[in-house]
């Protein structure tokens, strides 16, 4: 199917140049991986006057860990996240989640930052970034802003990013305590699928818990009532059973073509239980 919409293709030479182009062409879209953007243009969902390609910008394509803080540039692809030894060693939840994104071909192009910029409710990166309490670093012509991830997602396809701004990177502080993690995604088969529900779990040696659900509410959810229940307590079958009861309060799944709300709720309970157990095993060194 051809792209019938005509638009200007502009390749930004620098961040400053990108800001200027955005100002000149207010009806713009930013191109990084393009895996969402091209489909949206092709299907006529958006009709930008200009597409500003930032792929050539220096300094946005690195994965870096320094002073206990990880930064992932906005041009870093999911494949690069999967292949990164730093992420595998220190932020394995990101690797686990990245491995379940789409298919290899898509992961080679799609960026994690693009994923949170599209901010569709079924995004893959939401729950793990919520659990890691990431910070989104954006820049516009007036300077830099740091946005905590829980303030980043405003609604379906809506973020705190303002017109004229670009995401530079996502930062995550390395957890100080020994911890275990787990990620699970509900999909209809083993091949690439948009998440019908995701769950990310973190627990550490002092029994601190962080739990987030994705794809079961307009934006990713931190399950604070469940965390409050669990915090300070060692996992037990009884505790998990109590936690499962609280899932329904934390999420608001919908029924659509991919799954019913009843099934999403059921699966969030099951996936949380299994993820907690898996994270606990990891913490225990198993």
């Amino acid at each position: 199917m051809p792209i019938a919409h005509e638009f200007k293709y502009l390749k930004a030479k620098s961040l400053k140049n990108a800001f200027a182009l955005m100002e000149k062409h207010p009806n713009y879209q930013v191109l990084a991986g393009g895996t969402d953007l091209i489909c949206a243009i092709k299907e006529g969902m958006i009709s930008p006057e200009a597409v500003i390609d930032i792929k050539g910008l220096k300094g946005l394509s690195k994965i870096k860990l320094s002073n206990g803080e990880l930064s992932i540039g906005s041009l870093v692809s999911y494949s690069e996240i999967i292949e990164s030894r730093t992420i595998k060693s220190y932020f394995p939840l990101l690797k686990e989640a990245a491995e379940k994104v789409a298919s290899c071909g898509i992961r080679n192009r799609a960026t994690m930052v693009g994923n949170i910029c599209s901010a569709v409710p079924c995004l893959d990166a939401g729950a793990p970034l919520m659990v890691y309490e990431a910070t989104v670093v954006v820049e516009g012509k007036d300077g830099e802003r740091l946005i905590p991830i829980k303030e980043w997602f405003v609604g379906p396809r809506k973020t705190s990013l303002k017109a004229g701004e670009i995401v530079k990177e996502v930062r995550i502080k390395e957890p100080a305590l020994k911890h275990g993690i787990a990620y699970d995604k509900l999909s209809r088969y083993e091949g690439e699928d948009l998440a019908q529900a995701t769950v990310a779990v973190y627990l550490d040696e002092q029994n601190n818990y962080r739990i987030s659900f994705g794809s079961v509410a307009p934006v990713p959810v931190r399950a604070s009532s469940i965390e409050n229940l669990l915090n300070g307590k060692a996992l037990s079958a009884e505790l998990i059973a109590q936690a499962k009861i609280l899932v329904a309060q934390e999420i608001s799944p919908i029924t659509d073509i991919r799954a019913t709300k009843e099934f999403r709720l059921h699966m969030c309970e099951v996936m949380m239980e299994r993820s907690l157990k898996r994270a606990q095993m990891m913490l225990g060194g198993k």
């Binding site: 051809p2 792209i3 088969y189 091949g191 991919r258 059921h266 699966m267």
Partner: protein, 780 residues
């Protein structure tokens, strides 16, 4: 039979190199030059509406637009078995996405943009989206003119209704059969629609040259049938069969979706409006889903009478098919299923109603399995449940009732030779039936399930195949044949047949993709009948060529004809072990006599096959009297699965399928059909889930939400078993095997889930969600 040299061997595909290197040409690969134009269609946004007016003025003025064509310019109907389909919608649109008008432009982008500028004024009408609504007391009629439509003599439309065809089978005495039964069971099963999902989408290019020649390049399973339907449909424009030429290069998957004529008619028709310019119509993946053919949905109401020992005494099968807006092909699916809806069982008393119902959903049509997958989901699930209620092992129940050679078929004919019992026993052994496999994971329940299957080719009684076989100087051969190599290995098997007769190795024999000007007639590449039918034609052509060779050698070299045979590209004689003459020495140029004159000349074989014993004529009230089916291919299959009781996820640990293909001309290719069919069948039961809105809009015409399996989703182990009970009229005993291998998938998965979790799900697909939710509901 003497020892076979090429038949029964796993010969490497003759088209393999072309496909692996990318040299194989598909419609989209052909360069049509700078005059090529592109068309985009204007589609109906309603499932059912009246067209009041069409305003093309804005589109006509758009940049790069050459012509805008509206439906009324082609007020013609066409169809394979019934003339009920329009080239473009006329006064009414009958499904969402139906073509109403088209824009022809210099670029595909311009065509797509201008198509949006065509303004169509509609009056929306209430669509019929369910079979029950179509059959209510005073329904809206999808085709009020049904009674005036031409159709084949074996269709029985009911005037002033939405019933396009009503196939009745009445055999024995149904009431007596139920009286004789110790117990009578009944149940209802539902099967939704499915899409073929060939990787190559439909595309066609039409060119009407200044001499009045209409050439159409298509991605098709049916080039000759397309030529015939184009000529029939465009006859009012003065176009005849002699003017129409269809060229079909390699095809990237068919599965029935590229049989007959669907969107190709648009390219043929539009070409006549821009004489001299080729016009390309290329479907998008979305259009591929909603405007070609879909597999039809069915509601199956069954009643079966059994003795306490498991003997079946009577069956009533009421099949109501959601055939969509146009049934020109789909009505024959309904017919085929109606003839065979007993399944592969010997049941003396039979009532079958197979009813083809018009709805305002996309046109139904042929899909691998041709109705058999649909009714067997219900029947083979039901048989398991009956066995359970009688306390009989499901395999014993099937062995007791399995049809045998010579048994009477539902329409009164006799069953052909069959290895069904052998197939059941082999599957039973391979599956370790009766042994429960245990899983270490407490959430994983294991289950085994089986299903029988059968299918006959569904085709007109006089469907035929032909072959021209021509030799080249080096005694290599070109087979001019007109079935399609759609991945099944057709060219390879035809080469093997000719090789066996002529002693020329298969790698020296090319099958040529059809150009209807050059390649002789073939009905269509459908019905799993090509190996059998075209195989017979190729065999006959090879025998014809061999006769000519022997004639020549006898005449020119004075050899005793009866002693001659062909081997290693030479003529040899049983009488003279030392003597031989290479084919290349005479196959084109002939043989020189002592006086310098020549005998012979280029050898060209001709072969034809038509099943002269078949007949579609029968009593419309009973279906008795004809011989509509040329033979049945039968088999059995089973699965051993893991089901996660919490997530509903099914993992197929092992699957086994035994099919009696008569003779496996190429065992590797038969195994390919088995594994391919299984994977496709499992997808229909586990993942594929077509959804329509309450307005009749297809909600998932894409692979984002219509899931076909990836390499991660295939069974862990697949065991193909080949059984060979020769088909007397098949080439080297072969009968069809293409469609059959996907037919048992849905019921055997359903039966395995029942075994694992004790839940019976009666509507496809059996998704993880449905499994979990059914189980939760059952516990409530």
């Amino acid at each position: 039979m003497s020892k076979l040299k090429y038949i029964g061997k796993p010969t490497v595909r003759v088209d393999g190199k072309a496909k692996v290197t990318g040299a194989a040409t598909f419609v989209e690969d052909i360069d049509f030059g700078p005059n090529l134009l592109y068309a985009a269609v204007v589609e109906s946004p309603y499932a059912y509406a009246k067209i009041n007016s069409i305003d093309t003025s804005a589109a006509e003025q758009a940049e790069d637009v050459v012509k805008v064509v509206v439906g009324k310019e082609f007020p013609y109907r066409f169809g394979l078995y019934m003339h009920d389909r329009y080239i473009f919608a006329q006064d009414y649109v009958r499904f969402m996405g139906e073509q109403v008008a088209a824009v022809i432009a210099r670029t595909p982008e311009a065509a797509k943009r201008a198509a949006k500028l065509v303004k169509v004024d509609y009056t929306e009408l209430t669509p019929i989206l369910k079979v029950e609504d179509a059959l209510c007391d005073h329904p809206n009629l999808v085709h009020p003119e049904l009674k005036s439509y031409e159709h084949v003599p074996w269709f029985f439309p009911q005037d002033d209704s939405n019933i396009a065809h009503f196939r009745k089978i009445r055999h024995g005495d149904l009431d007596k059969g139920f009286e004789e039964a110790d117990q009578v069971f009944e149940d209802v099963y539902y099967v939704p629609r499915y899409a073929h999902c060939a990787i190559e989408i439909h595309g066609a290019v039409g060119k009407f040259d200044h001499s009045g020649r209409l050439t159409v390049w298509t991605s098709s399973q049916s080039p000759h049938t397309q030529r015939h339907l184009f000529a029939e449909a465009l006859k009012p424009l003065g176009i005849t069969h002699n003017d129409v030429r269809v060229i079909t290069p390699y095809v990237g998957g068919g599965f029935g979706g590229k049989a007959g004529v669907t969107m190709e008619i648009i390219a043929a028709a539009l070409a006549t409006k821009v004489q001299g310019h080729p016009v390309k119509v290329l479907w998008s993946r979305e259009q591929e889903f909603y405007n070609t053919y879909q597999r039809q949905g069915v509601v199956a109401k069954m009643r079966i009478g059994v003795k306490n020992d498991g003997t079946m005494t009577a069956i009533e099968q009421l099949l109501y098919w959601d055939a969509g807006a146009y049934v020109e092909y789909g009505a024959n699916v309904v017919n085929a299923a109606g003839l065979s809806a007993t399944g592969p069982y010997r049941i003396p008393n039979i009532k079958i109603d197979s009813v083809c119902v018009y709805t305002n959903l996309p046109p139904g049509g042929p899909y691998r399995g041709f109705g058999y997958s649909e009714f067997l989901f219900g029947l083979e699930s039901f048989v398991d449940d009956i066995a359970e209620k009688l306390g009989i092992d499901p395999i014993e129940m099937r062995l007791k009732n399995a049809i045998k050679e010579g048994d009477t078929l539902a329409y009164g004919g006799k069953m052909n030779p069959s290895g069904l019992e052998q197939a059941i026993n082999k599957v039973k052994k391979e599956l370790k039936w009766g042994e429960k496999r245990e899983s270490k994971d407490p959430h994983i329940k294991t289950g085994k399930g089986i299903s029988l299957f059968w299918k006959a080719p569904a085709m007109p009684p006089n469907a035929s195949s032909t072959c021209f076989l021509k030799f080249n100087e080096d005694a290599s051969i070109n087979l001019l044949i007109s079935a399609m190599e759609i991945g099944q290995g057709y060219h390879t098997v035809m080469a093997q047949i000719a090789a066996e007769v002529l002693g020329v190795p298969p790698e020296k024999i090319r099958g040529e993709n059809p150009d209807t000007d050059r390649n002789p007639y073939e009905w269509q590449t459908v019905a799993s009948h090509i190996t059998w039918s075209c195989g017979n034609a190729v065999y006959n052509a090879a025998v014809d060529a061999r006769d000519q060779i022997f004639d020549l050698v006898e005449r020119a070299l004075e050899k005793k004809r009866d002693a001659l045979y062909l081997e290693d590209m030479q003529v040899k004689s049983k009488d003279e072990p030392e003597w031989s003459v290479p084919l290349r020495d005479f196959i084109i140029d002939g043989l020189m006599m002592k006086d310098g004159t020549w005998r012979g000349g280029p050898i060209v074989g001709r072969g034809m096959f038509m099943p002269e014993f078949a007949s579609a004529l029968s009593n419309p009230e009973t279906g008795q009297g004809g011989k509509p089916n040329v033979h049945y291919t039968v088999g059995a299959a089973g699965v051993d699965i893991d089901v996660d009781e919490e997530t509903g996820k099914v993992k197929i640990k092992k699957t086994v399928l035994a099919v009696d293909c008569g003779k496996a001309l190429n065992p590797s290719l038969v195994e390919g059909q088995i594994t391919g069919g299984l994977v496709q069948g499992f997808a229909t039961v586990l993942y594929e889930d077509m959804r329509f809105s309450d307005k009749g809009k297809l909600l998932n015409p894409n692979f984002t939400d219509y899931k076909i399996p990836t390499v991660h989703d295939i069974p862990e182990k697949m065991v193909p078993i080949i059984i060979e009970t020769a088909q007397p009229d098949g080439p080297y005993g072969a009968r069809g095997v293409g469609e059959h291998t996907m037919i048992p998938c849905a019921p055997m998965i359903g039966n395995a889930i029942k075994d694992a979790l004790n839940v019976r799900i009666k509507s496809m697909p059996l998704t993880a969600e449905k499994i979990v939710m059914s189980q939760k509901n059952q516990k409530k």
